[in-house]
Symmetry: C2
Subunit: 214 residues, 2 copies
């Protein structure tokens, strides 16, 4: 006999437990919570994910999730369209937007290069980034990828592709191209004690020190 | 402008965050995980909860979730149908079944009496329990409700209702009725140190000591 008194219940628990970080005990608790709700509320719950999956649109410029062909950021005339911040995913766009410190536009890769997980350069939005930079009037690319081996690999790959693109353009047109490529600063987090900062971060923050402006 | 780049995304996050214990940041992570799955997988995910809600059956005897009118436990001839264990919910049935120490049947109340949350005796399966005991050939009722104020209140209420039922029966038929009413033992958990056990539990375990069988 199955651990569950009902196959329908077991199937619902299986689906809930397929979410990352949700164990079977938690899944059962969540499913029984749903079962206590009104039918129309369960319909709204179930419908929201399927509707998102079926009707989701990605911005044709930055590939962020969007409701229309051009996302609100790419459509805004108040944003600096000559600066592109390259990020891994939607959450990163939201995090940077929440800082209120950035007024350029974005390019969402939808992943980073990871040989371990079988993600290569063709699986993420790198070609479209190179295309976008070669066609547009871009002055700066800010690489804002995770501080991991995969992030560093992706940074380096994008940097090389951009250099190649610039060289090709130079040979063809003999025009000067001054595209600035930068990456976000890595260092001791604001509010952190030095003694609790890991050695690699602390080491980098010394090597990449910046001028003190009193 | 909304925090989310898409209304569909925001709605999906709202629904996911309506689950108990799921914050908005976790909800966003889970929704984006779903969005990366195949459409048929999202359909299976969404469908499971709605199907459970629409097609769920409760056992007509014990009110546990079931696939048929009688749950596998109530339908089994190998179980002792004269002993009923009264529990709050489905999880409790599964927990007791997992111990392998119980061979009777269950009665799932579907909640406990809680004036704070507006749950009265009529909102849970108490009437059906009294009815079941008065009609059936029951020798023992085991109360296995939570060790909380609400659990104690519900225990006491059920005890009184059973006593009334027995008295009524006595007056009508003049028959002797020997229904045993017990509750699960409360005490120091197996493997626990005495010094880390709370005072109330330790106190009860001394008052309710049992004979040592060496």
């Amino acid at each position: 006999m199955s651990e569950y008194p009902s196959i329908l219940l077991e199937q619902a628990v299986n689906q809930m437990a397929s979410l990352p970080g949700v164990g079977r005990r938690t899944a059962l608790r969540l499913v029984l919570h749903l079962l206590r709700q009104k039918e129309q509320d369960v319909e709204a719950f179930s419908g929201a994910f399927l509707r998102l999956k079926k009707e989701v649109v990605y911005c044709r410029e930055c590939h962020n999730i969007s409701d229309s062909e051009l996302c609100p950021i790419c459509a805004s005339t108040r944003r600096d369209h000559s600066t592109i911040c390259v990020v891994e995913n939607v959450q990163d766009v939201m995090s940077i937007e929440n800082t209120g410190q950035y007024n350029g536009v974005y390019h969402v890769l939808g992943g980073i290069i990871s040989p371990m997980e079988g993600v290569g350069p063709k699986d993420i939005e790198i070609d479209s980034l190179i295309d976008r930079v070669s066609k547009g009037d871009i002055s700066e690319i800010i690489l804002a990828l995770p501080t991991t081996m995969e992030g560093d690999t992706t940074n380096f790959y994008i940097y090389r592709r951009l250099q190649n693109m610039i060289n090709d353009k130079l040979q063809m047109t003999n025009d000067k191209c001054d595209l600035k490529i930068s990456q976000i600063a890595r260092g001791v987090a604001v509010g952190n004690q030095l003694e609790y900062t890991d050695e690699i971060t602390l080491g980098r923050s010394i090597v990449n020190r910046i001028e003190f402006k009193g």
